[in-house]
């Protein structure tokens, strides 16, 4: 006497047989104790799995999950904003250093101005050469572009950068306030 295959028995157990096949399987099971024994073994395993007790959860995860949700990873917009801020700070520092190098009384600033001025005096001609090399058709807005960056333009640029930086700080004041309040809230909780 042939028996039902393991596949058919499993499909029968899981109610995944088509109706015609199911009828044939049931008919066979009525007359085959071996297949009934095998099916009962599968049912016993299912019952044992269903009876596996739940592992108790050792702590409430809701506060941890909510904290992670509220502190998401910075998106690209945040990164661009941070990059702009860093760029502004560097630009302001360069402009300030340039002013120091142009001081007619370097002795007033002490010996430290030399170490500040040297990188700047090296850096500015390099920028000048880049601009001259890659943007020869830039309009002459008041100086020697493209043959050289006019100091007047750098001064104007520095002032513009300072104003933009101030505008950014003012426009982002609410975000900074949110960050402070959030940190105060967390400290209060701890």
């Amino acid at each position: 006497m042939s028996h039902l295959s393991g596949d058919v028995l499993n499909l029968y157990l899981d109610d995944e047989l088509a109706s015609g096949e199911r009828g044939a399987a049931e008919a066979h099971l009525r007359g085959c104790p071996d297949c009934r024994r095998e099916l009962n073994a599968l049912r016993g395993l299912s019952a044992r799995l269903a009876g596996l007790p739940l592992e108790p959860l050792p702590l409430d995860l809701a506060p941890l999950v909510l904290r992670r949700i509220e502190s998401p990873r910075p998106g690209w917009a945040d990164r661009v904003g941070a990059g702009l801020l860093v760029g502004q700070v560097i630009a302001v520092a360069l402009v300030a250093a340039w002013y120091l190098t142009q001081s007619s009384q370097p002795d007033v600033l002490g010996p430290g101005w030399f170490w500040l001025a040297q990188p700047v005096t090296f850096f500015l001609p390099w920028i000048d050469s880049l601009v001259a090399g890659f943007a020869p058709s830039l309009p002459d807005v008041g100086g020697e572009i493209p043959t050289g960056i006019a100091m007047e333009n750098l001064q104007v640029g520095g002032i513009i950068v300072l104003l933009l930086g101030a505008l950014w700080v003012v426009s982002n004041r609410m975000l900074l306030a949110d960050g402070r309040n959030a940190r105060r809230g967390e400290q209060g909780r701890s």
């Binding site: 050792p58 509220e70 949110d178």
Partner: protein
């Protein structure tokens, strides 16, 4: 959502102190309403969803990864991932099956990323052939589990954890989440034929192992 950002640390602190003024105004809401409230900007509604389903999700993770701390991490990751894709959740359906399927995939990703600390030997049959079943060197690494659980439950957990990962996943989805074969295939992204072969073989392995451990 920004107002919720500011309010949340205060609310969370009051929950933890058991402030009766804020205790669980979401308790009687359905999962769908909680999801809708979350999408409207109420993270505390999502906190209620987490509390309702965290034990079930933790058990999904624990059955698959077998380690308590890892299961806690997987559970958190699953809820965070669910929050970020909450707009895809059909609010007229129960939240439990949806989050448990997410937890299953998070657990499987965790298992794939984890570098095995020990090369697990494979069980051999009487003929010395490789059965494909991994054996654990110590299935009772946490003594308190022996104390807290019956031996039968412990043996069953060990048998499940000894299955290859892809067999374990199918057993989890069929026997603990009651998914049909088609849904298992869709959840795991495998063909229907693989679901059947994995499940049937896994059952065979479980029976053999539980017989062997008697």
């Amino acid at each position: 959502m920004r107002e919720a950002t500011l309010a949340l640390p205060i609310l969370a602190a009051r929950f933890e102190r058991g402030d009766p003024g804020t205790v669980n105004r979401w308790a009687g809401s359905s999962d769908g309403k909680l999801a809708a409230a979350t999408l409207r900007g109420s993270p505390e509604a999502y906190g209620e969803l987490v509390r309702r389903h965290q034990t079930a999700v933790y058990n999904v993770a624990f059955r698959l990864v077998g380690e308590r701390q890892a299961a806690l991490d997987v559970t958190q990751d699953a809820f965070v991932r669910a929050y970020r894709s909450l707009q895809t959740f059909k609010q007229d359906l129960p939240f439990g099956p949806w989050i448990k399927r997410i937890a299953t995939n998070v657990a499987l990703s965790w298992l794939e990323r984890r570098a095995p600390l020990v090369s697990l030997p494979r069980r051999q049959n009487e003929s010395g052939e490789d059965t494909g079943e991994e054996t654990l060197s110590d299935e009772s690494a946490e003594p308190e589990r022996v104390y807290l659980e019956g031996e039968a439950a412990q043996a069953l957990r060990g048998a499940i954890l000894a299955l290859p990962v892809h067999y374990r996943a199918v057993v989890e989805l069929r026997h603990f989440q009651d998914l049909a074969y088609d849904d298992i295939a869709a959840t795991l992204g495998i063909p229907l034929s693989d679901v059947k072969s994995h499940l049937f073989r896994a059952r065979r392995m479980l029976r053999d192992r539980l017989e062997h451990d008697r």
